[in-house]
């Protein structure tokens, strides 16, 4: 009976469409990004204190923001990298939001997804930002290099360009190793090895991939969660890659709706939250099998997938949840935005007892 409880702590309505929210590392503050009805970008900073959260900063920029990350910034700076509707990648100093500290027209169309690594003490190697866009291209940026990406992944000429919905860093356990996973609207998942500059693995999950996330970015690839349309999500065991079969996986139905997001608990990599198109939050726990790999008939190792258990299920909104972020500093604290223009601060209890 010691099930974790998901409790709505505070909620607030805003006057713009919310697309992303991120906790500012080492603080009780979070950033909300969105789109005003007049077509401008909203960037607000809230601070949580004593059962309430208040606006600390509120700026309006010319273009709507779609996504943001602190992943490539040092803990000292805590610069926010954002992707906007016009395909521009910008990095903001939250202390002075007048002008971005870095700005580049990264893509021709909207940047759907952004992820950062190498900052905040998470991930070895150079700070890098990866962006995935509707133009079908995935680009890796180094904030130290102006105007040009350090790596670009795009379909060869003649091939159809699929809308890239999600990107994620992983495998950054050494200064050289690094992987980028990208999910496309046609169900393609591609894993790019940035060390070898090669496509390491690809698969198709039949439904558009809404979200990809490694359970940890800064360790040798362990698990990858992919959420898709048609209320399904997949968990891949990334430890063992079979030359032909690839990675072992399990598939789970959830939410009775599109699974928009999956977010791993920073304090426990086997616990993750999935967020549905029906406004529901599902908390899952992954259980490893007794042996994570086995040798098949030809003597080649293949992975063995584990199982997932639903720990908790709550519905907070009638609209899809657009973003969810666990606080990296306080276990159980999270912020969640949904398309009903509401920001919610959520508390999940008893996570330490799982």
């Amino acid at each position: 009976m010691d099930k974790p409880q998901i409790i709505l702590h505070i909620q607030k309505c805003v006057n713009y469409t919310l697309y992303d929210s991120k906790w500012i590392p080492c603080s009780a503050k979070f950033v909300a990004l969105g789109n005003y009805a007049r077509g401008t970008g909203a960037l607000q900073i809230y601070e949580v204190s004593h059962g309430d959260f208040k606006v600390v900063k509120d700026v309006e920029k010319s273009k709507p923001f779609k996504c943001g990350t602190f992943g490539a910034s040092s803990l000292q700076n805590r610069f926010l990298a954002t992707g906007d509707f016009t395909g521009k990648l910008q990095i903001w100093n939250l202390e002075s939001l007048d002008l971005p500290v870095y700005s580049v027209q990264a893509h021709k169309e909207i940047i759907n997804s952004i992820d950062g690594i190498g900052g905040l003490g998470i991930g070895e190697g150079a700070p890098e930002i990866v962006t995935g866009s509707r133009d079908g291209i995935v680009k890796v940026w180094d904030p130290r290099q102006k105007d040009e990406p350090v790596a670009t992944m795009e379909p060869e000429e003649g091939e159809a360009k699929r809308d890239c919905w999600t990107v994620a860093f992983g495998d950054a356990y050494s200064a050289q190793d690094r992987c980028v996973a990208a999910g496309y609207d046609n169900g393609d998942i591609k894993l790019f090895d940035l060390r070898n500059m090669a496509l390491r693995w690809e698969t198709n999950v039949k439904n558009g991939v809404c979200c990809l996330e490694f359970d940890r970015k800064d360790i040798a690839m362990n698990k990858l969660v992919a959420t898709t349309l048609e209320s399904k999500f997949h968990v891949y065991d990334m430890r063992t890659q079979h030359p032909s079969k690839g990675f072992a996986s399990l598939t789970e139905k959830a939410h009775n709706s599109t699974v928009w997001l999956a977010r791993h608990l920073p304090q426990n990599r086997d616990v993750f939250m999935t967020l549905g198109g029906n406004g529901s939050l599902n908390l899952w726990k992954y259980s490893y099998p007794s042996s994570r790999s086995k040798t098949d008939g030809e003597g080649v190792e293949t992975g063995v997938a584990g199982t997932v258990d639903l720990l908790q299920n709550v519905t907070l909104s009638t609209q899809p949840v657009s973003s969810f972020d666990w606080s990296p500093d306080k276990m159980g604290l999270s912020v969640c935005t949904s398309f009903d223009q509401t920001i919610r601060v959520i508390i999940t209890t008893k996570l330490n007892t799982i």
Binding site: S49, M153, T349
Partner: protein, 566 residues
């Protein structure tokens, strides 16, 4: 009391709810303390400045770029038609880099998608970027012209580029190159200095400034530039060879100090610079036109033509009629003047064919109407194709007026003389137009009758070694001018030169008049005291000649010789 299963469940649920409540309360209390903790931590982070800058790995794909590209091609999702960035150190790639093509591509791209304009956060940024781009376009244009040898156009292009982007060090350096080609060394030096101030490590600018300075003769500065280049690029061949060459140059400079000091002795005196034949400039010599200002007003030169065209014919008819009258009317006034002219025409072979006619004509043109009160008899003679043409130019009067000393003179003689003087000037004008421009002045033709003592002295210096020429020259001066002309400045040398030339050319000239007028020059007695015995001998011979000719009473000659301290 046994409890039913249902009851047990209800109790459990109640307990659980209570537990959850406690859990949540605990969590919230914890959250509050965490909030204050994290705030403190954040403050520390902000103020602490624990800025331990870690050694970050290099930016991906900057060093092994080429290798990466190969691998990427094998990739299914390899980056394909993305323009690749060429590293600043990849010189091979830059050599192959086709600037024009790249520019065309950029232009094309700009037409295709206007989104590039939104790349910059502010309009200012974008404007700056645009100007920089334009500056580069101008630079390339300039380079093109430079290659073709169209230096003026190249300079123009670079100048435009500099207007667009004043921070680009390449533009002034390239303009300096074009200026060097045009041998505008000082301007080139200035441009190079600008370029160096923009980019103190720009080797080409130093090289160009050095060569400009070497050409300007600033060898020391050129040397320091070359040594700077060698500091930046120790293996720069051009700098090395130039340094050697310059050192030789400087050595040679030191070996021939006499030549260089010569030029410094007299200020304003230009002396030829000696150069070794191999050093001499290969550039063709340019003709430099020098116009004299002040001595003769330039206006004078076109007036003859004016008169020639419009009034010459009328004048030539009138002058014939007026001539006879004039001679009779003005005879007494004219006497000394016409006699001097007569002498002149006798003695000067070059003017042998001239007919000299004093003419009195009313001024005709508009200008002269302003000064109708001054209608002086004027003389105009002209030589052209051995033809004689005489006319009066009203502007003569003007000329006369411009010389206040002459104009103020009230005696008829001095009234006449300026006219005759200017008349002579007029006469010589057409030929002077040619001769003067060439920078040579023939003694007989080129030098006019002096109007000031300074002019006389200058001419005297020129002519004192040419007795014949000097005599001619002196003859042209009416004796009545002497007092004015020499003022206080008649020295023994000058006097002896005059007397000797007179002695050498004894003829029917009015020797007495000349000698008398000379003796009336101020401080004449002082001058005579400086005459040597041999000089006096010359004077004596002149006096003897006078007394022999008997044109003057003996008494006059005696008093004259007393004035010459005989």
């Amino acid at each position: 009391m046994p409890i039913s299963k249902h009851e047990e469940k209800m109790v459990d649920l109640r307990v659980q709810m209570q537990q959850n409540q406690v859990e949540l309360r605990d969590y919230l209390a914890d959250l509050d303390s965490w909030e204050s903790d994290i705030k403190e931590k954040e403050e520390q982070l902000r103020t602490g400045k624990t800025a331990q800058i870690e050694e970050l790995p290099p930016v991906r794909n900057t060093i092994q770029k080429k290798k990466m590209k190969k691998k990427k091609k094998e990739l299914k999702d390899a980056e394909s038609n993305k323009p690749r960035r060429i590293s600043g150190f990849d010189f091979k790639a830059w050599d192959k880099f086709d600037v024009d093509k790249a520019l065309e591509e950029i232009d094309k791209k700009e037409k295709e998608d206007k989104t590039s304009s939104s790349e910059y956060e502010t309009d200012e940024e974008w404007e700056m970027e645009r100007k920089k781009h334009l500056a580069n376009v101008e630079k390339d244009l300039g380079n093109e012209f430079l290659k073709k040898g169209e230096y003026d156009k190249a300079i123009e292009a670079y100048t435009k580029g500099m207007a667009f982007d004043a921070t680009n060090a390449v533009l002034p350096a390239n303009r300096a190159m074009a200026l060097l080609k045009q041998q505008k060394f000082a301007a080139a030096e200035l441009d190079c200095t600008v370029s160096i101030s923009l980019d103190p490590l720009y080797v080409k600018a130093y090289l160009r400034r050095a060569s400009a300075r070497a050409s300007l003769g600033k060898f020391d500065q050129a040397m320091s530039d070359y040594s700077h280049v060698l500091g930046l690029e120790p293996s720069n061949k051009q700098a090395k060879s130039e340094v050697e060459r310059l050192q030789k140059e400087i050595k040679r400079e030191k070996e021939v100090p006499v030549l260089s000091t010569l030029t410094e002795q007299g200020k304003g005196i230009v002396k030829p610079v000696y150069k070794q034949p191999e050093e001499r400039s290969k550039a063709p010599l340019k003709r430099i036109h020098i116009e004299e200002i002040g001595i003769e007003s330039t206006g004078q030169q076109y007036h003859p033509d004016l008169a020639y065209g419009a009034t010459a014919k009328k004048v030539s008819v009138q002058e014939q009629e007026n001539f006879e009258k004039l001679v009779s009317q003005n005879a007494p006034q004219q006497a000394p003047h016409s006699s001097s002219i007569a002498v002149e025409s006798n003695l000067m072979p070059t003017f042998a064919n001239e007919r000299i006619q004093p003419v009195n004509v009313e001024p005709r043109d508009l200008r002269s109407q302003d000064q109708q009160d001054i209608s002086l008899p004027s003389v105009e003679t002209r030589t052209e194709h051995q033809e004689v043409l005489t006319s009066t130019i009203p502007s003569n009067v003007l000329k006369a007026q411009k010389r206040p000393s002459w104009n103020a003179a009230s005696n008829p003689d001095s009234h006449q003389s300026p006219d005759s003087g200017s008349g002579n000037n007029q006469r010589k004008a057409p030929s002077r137009i040619e001769t003067e421009r060439n920078g040579t002045s023939l003694p007989s033709e080129g030098i006019s009758i002096p109007q000031t003592s300074f002019q006389f002295q200058t001419d005297f210096r020129l002519l004192k070694n040419k007795p014949e020429a000097f005599f001619e020259y002196f003859q042209a001066i009416p004796p009545s001018h002497y007092t004015k002309l020499f003022g206080h400045s008649l020295d023994a040398d000058m006097l002896m030169a005059v007397l000797k030339s007179l002695a050498a050319n004894l003829s029917s000239q009015d020797l007495y008049e000349i000698l008398t007028q000379l003796s009336m020059v101020k401080r004449f007695s002082m001058t005579t005291m400086f005459l040597s015995q041999s000089d006096k001998q010359v004077v004596r011979s002149l006096m003897e000649h006078l007394s022999k000719s008997g044109s003057r009473p003996q008494n006059d000659i005696l008093s004259l010789s007393r004035k010459y301290e005989l």
